[in-house]
């Protein structure tokens, strides 16, 4: 309930994009690893502008690792890959951007809240 209030689901056309549940992380981690490897190989950095990753960076990553991104989108919106592959470029990019911004910001906040606080505790003692 709390999650829904703070992170409402987004809609692109008929497609509903919900923030990730914990279980989703286990399904997408290997694809994330593939994306990170490709980004490292091509020296692509994720730099944020006003707290968000620019559309152009997402587009660059999309062209490099489209297969892995397609799989992550399919898992997130619970639709077959073939259906997503049929979407037009703008729609696909918009969904990928929403998934990225919806989740990384939220996870970053959680990590900051529960992890960094503990690291600081450990260091201060």
């Amino acid at each position: 309930m709390k999650d829904k209030e703070i992170f409402p689901e987004a809609k692109v056309g008929d497609i509903i994009i919900r923030p990730w549940k914990f279980g989703v992380l286990f399904k997408i981690s290997s694809f994330l690893e593939e994306i990170l490897d490709k980004m490292e190989a091509k020296n692509v950095n994720i730099e944020t502008v006003d707290g968000f990753v620019p559309y152009t960076t997402i587009a660059r990553i999309f062209t490099m690792a489209s297969d892995s991104i397609l799989k992550i989108i399919a898992i997130t919106i619970e639709k077959p890959e073939e259906e997503i592959a049929e979407l037009d470029m703008d729609e696909g990019l918009e969904i990928a951007t929403i998934i990225y911004n919806q989740n990384t910001e939220r996870i970053k906040k959680i990590i900051n809240e529960i992890f960094i606080e503990k690291v600081e505790d450990e260091k201060s003692e």
Binding site: G23, S29, S30, V119
Partner: protein, 232 residues
Amino acid sequence: MRSLSDEEILFPEIVINNITILPWTFDKLFKLNTSLRKLSKCVECINSLTTNVKYIDVLKLLSFINKDISRVMCITLNCSEKDVLEFDLYTGLKILVTIYFQNINIINSKKSEKKGATLSLGDVFSTLISNNIGDSIEDLKSNYTIDQVYMFYEKCRKNELSEQKRNAVTLAHALVYASPSHDRNSMRKKQNMWDKYINSLEPRKAEKPSSKNIINVFRMMGIPVVKKEVNK
């Protein structure tokens, strides 16, 4: 790595959303060995995090959430994989972070583990069992956290050493007491010394220093102690 207090070791459980999380026992550590080895890169990534978490760090951390992590969570929490997958994002990540910090010393010491450590687990367990801590090896393996096992072991060793020290002191006193005396005075002194020592072993009979004795000690050190006048 910070050392835990006795209280933190004795009462280590943390409850998150009605889920009780306890640090690992040896039994759990043995079961997790393979998964932990596979997660060494993940541990390195976590250890390199600073207070300023970047997006790339978040993605890296998420890329480590795999079968080995779910195995660590299932074994630690005694629950099924299905239960783990059903956690909401906040609870799941909080539990994961808690497991990491509860076992941080073990996780990081495993990374720097060296062969040929002088202290074997056999030594530790047999010392504990001979001191009536734990019914059996199985009991120590499954019902005591690793920190508890080592804490009790250290306490047993400390007791053993102080007992050895006490025996040596008793032997020294006994040798003085049993040595031949040349006159009655010397015999009485030895008897007094022995009685004092025996009494000192019983807390209730231990002699408390009188105020006169304390004043004398200060005077011997050259510090004059005078009675203070109290204005009425």
